[in-house]
Amino acid sequence: MVNVLLFGRLAEICGQNNFVFEAKDTDAVCDKLKTDFPEMKQFSFALAVNQIMITGNTKLKEGDEVALMPPYSGG
């Protein structure tokens, strides 16, 4: 099981900011969310695994934390 965190608009689309489910890699996380919440396909977001930014598909292990983050807009 991995811990999936959603922020900003993405949490709004999915109706919650935290999911726990099985996924072997980050593509599987994104695919599942885009299937369950098709509106997710419209927005670009960055991915972090265990608080490290990743680019490209990344293998996941039990207990990993995957964050889906829209463009930052602090300040």
Binding site: G8, E12, A48, M69, P71, Y72, S73, G74, G75
Partner: protein, 149 residues
């Protein structure tokens, strides 16, 4: 030391008050090697949105653990790049109303260039790299996700 810096408190609940800013400044009166302070404050604007509705506030959320780590790295880079005496960064979480302060960046140095340049550098990096999101609250109660800018 690094551990302490990692846990430096950045996020504060609600707006940052002018009194808090004055206290931060006053604390530096005892540091007699400081000759220059630079500050930047982000204030929530009453922008008019496309639907004619006016922004009444911004609700901020952060990926706090990651944002704190990102800010730690930005801070370390600034200390390496500029000859600074002190550096403080505060960002609001939760609701900050129009006219209130949501970001406070404060740099101090012996001579003015370091404080001025470091403050500018920090503001730009914070805006681009820190895991914070703002949601504008309109008069009607509708919300609009803030665009990066």
């Amino acid at each position: 030391m690094i551990e302490e810096k990692k846990h430096k408190k950045v996020f504060v609940k609600g707006p940052i008050s002018p009194g808090f800013i004055a206290d931060s400044l006053a604390k530096h009166a005892a540091k007699h090697n400081i000759g220059a302070h630079s500050m930047f404050m982000g204030q929530v604007r009453a922008d008019v949105k496309e639907n004619g509705q006016v922004v009444t506030g911004i609700a901020y959320e952060a990926y706090q653990e990651m944002a704190t780590e990102t800010l730690h790295n930005i801070r370390e880079d600034a200390f390496a790049k500029y000859s600074l005496t002190c550096m403080h960064i505060y960002h609001s979480l939760g609701l900050v109303k129009t006219g209130e302060i949501s970001l406070f960046v404060f740099t101090s140095s012996a001579h003015r260039r370091a404080a001025l340049e470091a403050c500018d550098y920090l503001v730009e990096r914070i805006k681009k790299e820190v895991q914070v999101w703002g949601k504008e609250i309109l008069e009607s109660g509708e919300t609009v996700w803030k665009q990066p800018g």
